[in-house]
């Protein structure tokens, strides 16, 4: 048996980097958010920054908006990826190529995808021009605002475009593991195709689906570049508001920025913890 110290040694570099950088960074943010800054004489931690942040309508509006983006993106992606995975489940000519293309698509940086969406769907973008050509609109402003709009349609579109393939791959891998055996048994016992799906397959897929959805949700909630590029002037995504506060000339805004960052972290963490709890309730991942 390998000694405990040997294991620790193997893990040490990882722990050093992650616990060190991640933990220290986080700890510092937390301290600053509590207005604990010995450097400028603040030695009494307090919740003033949190109070200010939680009562600011701008921040609260951002939270709601970001939650909307995250929820819509992850929800739509989940549904689409479920349907797609079920469709692609069985082998067909060109399936390997399609899967390879999907994996290749995962390499596209979010900013690049966002710019593409912008040039296609903005009011002066390609689709607007198509509409003009078809005589449906007579000027750019007449085209529905799909980017820089308060419903974040462009942003949601990008996230779905980017994350749906990822979720499809996850589900396909899971479907492969599950295999067709269970449904076949159900069918042989007299279940209809719908029953075989809803009562046999779906419960087995749900943990993976939930985990993937939670991951996409947490990511979309805390993202920065995409909302900055495709979002309207107001409301702004939480990360954008926090960063703006952080780079404010007024240094007293710093603790508020830290508080916002901590809250974003906590909310995302809560979503993931909820997802994990649900998965655990559902019985976890059966081999």
């Amino acid at each position: 048996m390998t000694g405990g110290w040997r294991i620790f040694g193997m893990l040490a570099p990882l722990l050093l980097v992650l616990a060190g950088l991640f933990g220290l960074g986080l700890g510092l943010t937390l301290m600053r958010s509590l207005r604990y800054l010995p450097a400028i004489g603040l030695t009494e931690p307090d919740l003033a920054a949190y109070r200010a942040v939680l009562t600011a309508p701008r921040f609260l509006a951002s939270v709601v908006w970001s939650l909307w983006i995250a929820g819509a993106s992850s929800g739509i992606s989940a549904l689409l990826s479920l349907g797609t995975a079920l469709l692609l489940r069985h082998g067909f000519a060109g399936r390997g190529l399609l899967l390879a293309l999907i994996e290749l698509g995962l390499a596209v940086p979010h900013v690049v995808g966002a710019l593409g969406i912008l040039y296609l769907f903005s009011q002066s973008g390609s689709f607007a021009r198509l509409a003009f050509g078809a005589g449906l609109i007579d000027q750019p402003a007449a085209f529905p605002a799909l980017t820089h709009d308060p419903y974040a349609i462009g942003i949601i579109l990008l996230y779905v475009w980017k994350e749906m393939p990822f979720m499809t791959l996850v589900l396909l891998a899971r479907l492969k593991r599950i295999g067709p055996g269970h449904e076949a048994v159900a069918r042989s016992l007299g279940a209809t195709p719908w029953q075989a799906f809803a009562q046999v397959l779906l419960p087995m897929l749900l943990p993976s689906l939930l985990v993937a959805t939670a991951l996409v949700f947490a990511f979309a909630f805390g993202a920065y570049e995409v909302p900055l590029l495709l979002g309207p002037h107001a409301p702004e995504a939480v990360s954008v508001v926090a960063w703006k506060h952080h780079t404010d000339v007024d240094l007293s805004a710093r603790p508020e920025a830290m508080a916002m960052a901590v809250l974003v972290f906590v909310i995302a963490g809560a979503v993931l913890a909820l997802g994990a709890r649900l998965v655990w309730r559902l019985g976890g991942f059966s081999r």
């Binding site: 294991i7 990882l14 390879a100 994996e103 900013v111 690049v112 710019l115 296609l120 974003v264």
Partner: protein
């Protein structure tokens, strides 16, 4: 696909609403972007070296970590796994802000090494998880048999272990590369505007209103990522078709 439109924009000249296709095709945008005046080339090199450095360091760290996590059931394993997963799934903003203060004190802000260190945080989880899975699936028997046949530990490593986990190492490295390649906020925060990686440069162009330049730079930003993933995919398919070693020679089936 959105990518196509970026390509079209990069060669468009004076393409205004409501024209469906650019009236003029010009490569002026590309020649500017590829010239040294635009700074894109320098940024490309910088971003590449940072991403490669991140990938290498992350892969090297993930090997022993994955081995420990994949093979041994030790107390605290779950906690470590959660710690490993956390930076990948939780927003980096909270860490970035505090890290900035820490790095400021250490003199690491505005430096490339500071940025690489920062990139390691979101990059490490992926290769570690991949290596954990790889080692969990790797039969220790192979190593034991090789040792019992008289092989030295270094030989075992080179001829038994490494070839077996090589695909996972490649995937892990590719993932770490991609994470570093697309980083924006972390680079902005730690680099303090001095470390101009491609995502930052791209952003500047994107907000400049010059769609042709932006289109070109986006494709420059896109290409290496596609190449890295494409390369990994191709290697995987090559191995599957029977070119590589999937069975350890000498060990009975």
């Amino acid at each position: 696909m959105p990518l196509l439109i970026l390509g079209i924009w990069s060669v468009a000249h004076g393409w205004r609403f409501p024209a469906l296709v650019p009236g003029e095709v010009s490569f002026a945008a590309w020649s500017y972007v590829l010239s040294s005046a635009s700074g894109v080339g320098a940024s490309l090199g910088l971003t590449l070296s940072i991403a490669v450095a991140t990938a290498v360091i992350a892969t090297v760290i993930s090997y022993p970590a994955g081995r420990a996590l994949g093979r041994h059931r030790f107390p605290g394993r779950f906690a470590v796994l959660v710690l490993v997963l956390a930076p990948a799934v939780l927003p980096a903003l909270a860490v970035a802000l505090g890290l900035q203060g820490l790095f400021l004190r250490l003199g690491l802000t505005g430096t490339v090494s500071g940025v690489v260190l920062a990139h390691l945080i979101p990059a490490l989880p992926y290769p570690t998880l991949v290596m954990t899975a790889a080692f969990a699936a790797f039969e220790p028997e192979f190593e034991h048999q090789a040792r019992s046949l008289g092989a030295r530990p270094l030989q075992v490593l080179a001829h038994v272990t490494l070839p077996a986990v090589a695909p996972a190492l490649r995937v892990g490295a590719a993932l770490a590369f991609l994470v570093s390649w697309s980083q924006y906020l972390l680079t902005l925060g730690i680099g303090a505007g001095k470390v101009q990686t491609l995502p930052l440069v791209l952003f500047t162009f994107a907000t400049s209103g010059r769609n042709d330049l932006t289109g070109a730079v986006s494709l420059v930003h896109l290409l290496p990522a596609l190449l890295v993933v494409g390369f990994t995919l191709a290697l995987r398919m090559f191995h599957r078709v029977g070119g590589g070693r999937w069975s350890v020679p000498g060990v009975g089936g």
